[in-house]
Symmetry: C2
DNA sequence: TCTTATTTCGTGTACGTACACGAAGATTTC
DNA sequence: GAAATCTTCGTGTACGTACACGAAATAAGA
């Protein structure tokens, strides 16, 4: 087995043609006779040509622009993690001559989502990454992009009916099912409470809906007698939340199992800590700093977490390869692991997020 | 902020010198006046130079050779996972002109380890990756390599007293502690059993020792009354193992909690399945195919798993950057996450291992 | 037949870095 | 003070690919 790498020059010699012709064949450009094209293809096959990505990227003078659309966020919130992951992924993409711009929208306002899409269109990006919340508008956007030949990658959640290059994220339904098995698997209680977030306007296509379905499906098939209470918190109204929880737990002192499907389990953890309540079993999602603290202190028993960094790295990478080499990712739907964090393994998990 | 990238040519112009001189400064080569060196450094600082890795790698005609030393393995065994991870990491390293050779040794024979080290030395590699089992011999090897200027990376476990460039693996002690909390955290039993592997020769410096210490330390501080039985299985002697377990469970029908610290929990899972025993709680390590099956079927409750692929990718990457650019990894000891797998999240975990 | 399109292909340059070679200049030696 | 040595630096070429430009070769039009 020869250790030397096969280059276009070798292909050209083998095919009895010039480098230029080989190059044209490789890039599916016009101006090459069918006979020559065949010769080149055969030579490539025979010699086992592989592209030298370093040389290719070096010679490629184009500059690509990716536009990323996701919900706006405050400090310490879930979407900030995603934003950081984008920055991290952008670093890996510099060798592709790629830069990434992020646009945000108010996730509670459909109008704002539409406005953000218009901004995105005005930006004329070569590729788009989107964390979708609104189904119909996302489908329409995907049609627009398809028409323009602009590739679209979904992260975090996807809209199956849309036209997209790839999706990287956890399986939503299964993540709810997992939460149920962690919360209810050992000693099933009689009733539990699900703390949700108050949303303005009837947003039926919220991704955490699928997660709740996974949870309730587990309950339906394993614990049909279980009673699930639903209570609604407000993201930024601590007084309201505390009053609500005081009332709830006052009326239901027997309830010891709590679940949230959004990333704000720390709202409840804070309450439990301040009130000094013991013996509750709490399951939540996403690796926010405040959630990490809640796990460390033992208030939250299980935290279900997705690998945001990996998802974005792979999403950006899929677009980079598409832009630079025209290659399509092997899988369209990439369901990524759901990690279970408890007090004893959370430290080494969060440490990893510091560099890679 | 100028979007153009700064090149050596820009540095040369700014410093009033030639590209050659700039190049010499960058590679710490001789033949440049102190005055000029200073000018170049200043220009680099001022313009914010960053190396174009594509161009650098393309121009670098050297070919590097990494030698990887790890225990020999049969099909479906733990070290086969590591071997596969090496192959996967090698693919990422082709752009660095790096190839990897793997040497294996009988992990139960110190002599064979020494012999493998001699073979490694004869190979004259530019870098070494090792999964160490024998402490003293590893330290000696690290001295030899240090003297030759050959970098050494530990994976899987490390020998702290050795001289090494970096380590990528899980924290062994903590992984045992985690196992204890998963097995014993909810309803502590009176006694449990730890199935171990019979080893020839008194190998005290086996890495799983630290794992067992983590487990027993948890027990000592949380459940000092707990009785731990130790039983010894043989890797390839099913009849012996079954007889042993028949005898053990016959004499101790009350024991329902089982732990293993090696990767062979499937030996016990097979027994449990064949005997049709119910109600046991089993915790094991490592994502072997047979272990995955044991989790799926519900026999093994928790499987603690490390990200072998990531560990090797990062290990190889650290060496690649050292060889090609002379850069040292930011952290020497990289403790990587311990993942907890149960029936409800193992599918999407193992799926990930197919491509990336 | 000569010009004008059209197809097909080869040559040359660029990308940014690495390094060999050799030319100036500075320093030493006798 | 000339030759020899050493220090310091600039030039040139190579890495493998991308693409513009223009040259042949062929076909079409008059």
């Amino acid at each position: 087995m020869s250790t030397k790498k096969v280059t276009v020059k070798d292909i050209a010699r083998q095919a009895g043609l010039s480098i230029g012709t080989v190059d044209r064949v490789m890039h599916n450009r016009s101006g090459v006779a069918e006979e020559s094209r065949r010769k080149v293809m055969e030579a490539m096959e025979e010699l086992g040509y592989t592209l030298n990505t370093n040389a290719s990227l070096l010679a490629n003078k184009k500059h690509y622009h990716i536009c990323c659309l996701l919900p706006s966020f405050g400090s310490g919130e879930y979407w900030e993690l995603v934003d950081k992951a984008i920055e991290s992924a952008e670093k890996d993409a510099v060798s592709y001559n790629i830069s990434i711009d992020t646009l945000t929208y108010d996730q509670f306002s459909r109008e704002d989502f539409v406005a953000a899409i218009e901004k995105l269109k005005a930006n004329l990006p070569q590729a788009v990454i989107i964390a979708p919340i609104y189904r119909d508008e996302t489908i329409e956007l995907s049609r627009y992009l398809k028409e323009k030949g602009i590739p679209l990658v979904f992260i975090d959640s996807k809209v199956s009916e849309a036209d997209y290059l790839a999706y990287y994220g956890i399986p939503m339904w299964e993540s709810g099912y997992l939460a149920a098995s962690l919360l209810l698997g050992d000693e099933p209680p009689q009733s539990i409470v699900n703390f949700r977030i108050e949303r303005g306007g009837g947003i039926a296509d919220n991704p955490t809906l699928a997660r709740r379905h996974g949870f309730t499906d587990y309950v339906a098939s394993n614990l049909p007698e279980l009673r699930i209470y639903n209570e609604f918190l407000r993201p930024y109204d601590k007084a309201h939340n505390f009053a609500l929880m005081d009332k709830f737990f006052g009326e239901h002192p027997d309830i010891r199992h709590i679940v949230t499907f959004n990333s704000r389990v720390h709202l409840i953890a804070d309450y439990i800590r301040e009130r000094g309540i013991k013996g509750l079993r709490l399951v939540g999602f996403d690796i926010l700093d405040q959630n990490i603290e809640a796990v460390r202190s033992g208030v939250v028993k299980y935290l279900i977490v997705q690998r945001t960094q990996v998802q974005l790295r792979r999403g950006v990478n899929a677009l980079a390869e598409w832009l630079a080499f025209g290659t399509t990712p092997p899988l369209r739907d990439n369901f990524m692991p759901m990690d279970i964090l408890i007090k004893e393994n959370i430290n080494f998990y969060s440490e990893m997020y510091k560099d890679h």
